[in-house]
Symmetry: C2
Subunit: 223 residues, 2 copies
């Protein structure tokens, strides 16, 4: 997880709570039912019912005592909280296997997130299309990013390319990064004048090597 630079909003909401909201949303959308109790929602998502209630209560009183939560409305509320009632404009960088998989996945499953551009320096790739979006060269990167009002960047590029690219993008106004390159992006000595930049790192190596630890530990700790 990247730096979280959450400003002093009304009451401080735990990052952990925010990370659970998408799970609730998914469960609510899958469950076509009318009403759901916190216990039911907990069952579906793997969290405790208290956890569910506390998370939701940070944002308002959406439930009815003795009854539960209205599924449809709660889904809308969560979408609103996450900012998914307005389309999130994302640009993808890197049209390799990973980038292609990501573009297709997002296009197939996220109405609320739109990949407005795909960038790749390889001339063999530029001009082609992935999931309906053209692959573009990096000439006039900044111009395109500003023109398309790209809010977040998904980085599926080689390790060495990630940081310089991210710096350019941050300077061009990109506010969020989903980084798949195995590097700690240290972006800005950055500003407290401009809006903060959020970075989420997804690092396969960390997951794999951590998994190795747990698998191995359990082996030894055989009771």
């Amino acid at each position: 997880m990247g730096k979280d630079t959450v400003p002093r909003t009304a009451r401080r909401i735990p990052d952990a709570s925010i990370r659970r909201l998408p799970a609730y949303l998914r469960a609510l959308e899958a469950e076509a039912g009318q009403r759901l109790t916190s216990a039911a929602l907990g069952e579906l998502t793997g969290f405790s019912s208290e956890q569910v209630r506390k998370d939701l209560a940070y944002f308002g009183a959406f439930g009815t005592r003795g009854v539960g939560y209205p599924a449809q409305d709660l889904a809308s509320e969560i979408r609103h909280i996450l900012g998914l009632d307005r389309e999130l404009k994302a640009a993808l960088f890197g049209a390799g296997h990973l980038g292609t998989a990501l573009a297709r996945y997002v296009a197939a499953t996220h109405r609320d997130v739109r990949i407005v551009a795909i960038f790749d320096p390889d001339p063999e790739k530029t001009g082609s299309e992935i999931a309906g979006t053209a692959v573009t060269s990096l000439v006039d990167l900044e111009g395109e990013v500003e023109r398309l009002r790209v809010a977040v960047a998904i980085l599926a590029v080689p390790e060495a390319a990630a940081e310089p690219l991210a710096r350019r993008l941050a300077a061009a106004g990109v506010r969020g990064f989903l980084n798949f390159a195995p590097v700690m992006l240290s972006l800005p000595p950055a500003a407290d004048d401009g809006p903060p930049v959020t970075i989420h790192n997804i690092d396969l190596s960390i997951e794999l090597q951590t998994l190795a630890y747990f698998v191995q530990v359990h082996e030894t700790a055989r009771v």
Copy 2:
């Protein structure tokens, strides 16, 4: 992140500490130098020096007071702690774009993790090779998994396929899962007789939608 079923080992080590070890390892391997202080290692990884010292101290006294840590030896120690001094045998499921990207990445960057098998039901794919490993059909899945002594499974399969597959694999002795499918794997009513299963979920939707929240919040909270 999945359930963590850590047994009562000697002293309890925070999961968070373990998740930082790979970052230290990466920094140590990149830095060819002789010695490193906790401050230097912190600088390279983005963590505080106290954090670095505390994390390492859970496992032993690897440093020299007044001097720092020996880079080479510390790297070996961390590899040992993570269990990366023995090869981790992994099987990949799903030979689509995501699976292909994962297989190539692991083969290119991890000496310590070996993908010993790639499974995909598509007859067009079986028989081909990805990063030197043949793509196999799912006939005799259990037999192959046991024969190859697969310790962890990487799931790059469609949502619906993930859970039934994971159940079969867990039954066949797979102990760790890296799940890229957007589902909460609820594996076992599982055993307390057998060894525990560790699940790490990597969920693009959660990351994207959480990112949407932070980007949006900052927009509103403009000072």
